[in-house]
Amino acid sequence: MDIISQLQEQANTIASLAFNTFGTLQRDAPPVRLSPNYPEPPAPAAAANPPSENAAAAAAEIAEQPKLMSAALVKAAKQFDALVAALPVSEGAEEDQLKRIAELQAENEAVGQELQNQLEAAEEELKQVQELFNQAADNCLNLKKPD
């Protein structure tokens, strides 16, 4: 895939990582304490019923997720920078490109003309050789005495 499409894909990847990050955090975040007057928010229901090792594992995973997701986000951003560095763009290049295109077109025209000339000369020679071959074949046929 060409570099600009890769850059566009990378930008979209960064966007999707960002909204996945925020969506996951928002979905899995434990409730927050609003004011000192309200009682402590109840512990997650999972801790009450199954044994607490399940809750501990879930809590550990909930704490791990932001780190993993933010690491992925930063990696994607670095990848974007690397792709930008790989862009073959030079400053003020439009006029240079147009000039080069004009030069190449002129050269293409000249080379095409030469090719046409060579082709015509070669076809002419081919016709001559075919004519000679016909004459030689006719002579061979005439020299052969019919029985």
Binding site: A85, L87, E91, N108, V111, Q118, E125, V129
Partner: protein, 169 residues
């Protein structure tokens, strides 16, 4: 669902081409290519495909305007801005969750600018592709010229040799 109930019949122009095989000039010429804008199935299209600038789409332009934009620098700057805004959004969600809308708008603005910059690189890419194709074509043509020259010389040589052989009898 289609607006009309049935397909319309084909246009009756085929009668004009009855004698085309005998006299190609007795039939009307094909219509010339369209220029400017045209209407197709009720929608207006234009033949001049150009990328509309950001102001035309009502989006604020974050990178400096000018005849030549330094794409690499601006792309990197926009990337850093994007990261900062994502971090800001995370902060806002923790402290003042009701003010997320402004931050989300800023992030989408940055993305629009990013994609617009990338799209404006496409004409440059198109010209570079054209240059590459022209160079390839010139190279192929030169190769063909060399081949033809070589074959002609070989043929001339063979003819001379055969002449010598025939004359030697």
């Amino acid at each position: 669902m289609a607006a009309t109930a049935t397909y319309p019949p084909p246009p009756p122009y085929y009668r004009l081409y009855k004698d085309y095989l005998q006299n190609p000039k007795s039939a009307p010429e094909p219509p010339p290519p369209i220029e400017g804008t045209y209407v197709l199935y009720g929608a207006t299209y234009t033949t001049d495909d150009v990328l509309p600038s950001l102001e035309d789409q009502g989006v604020r332009q974050l990178y400096p305007k000018g005849p030549h934009v330094d794409f690499k620098k601006e792309l990197r700057a926009l990337n850093r801005e994007l990261q900062l805004h994502i971090l800001e959004l995370a902060d806002v969600l923790v402290e003042r969750p009701s003010q997320y809308a402004r931050r989300v708008e800023d992030i989408s603005l940055i993305f629009k600018n990013l994609h617009h910059l990338l799209n404006s690189l496409r004409p440059h890419q198109a010209r570079a592709t054209l240059i590459h194709i022209l160079e390839l074509q010139i190279q192929r043509r030169k190769q063909a010229i060399e081949d033809i020259k070589r074959r002609r010389e070989e043929a001339q040589k063979l003819l001379k040799e055969s002449l010598v052989t025939l004359d030697g009898h």
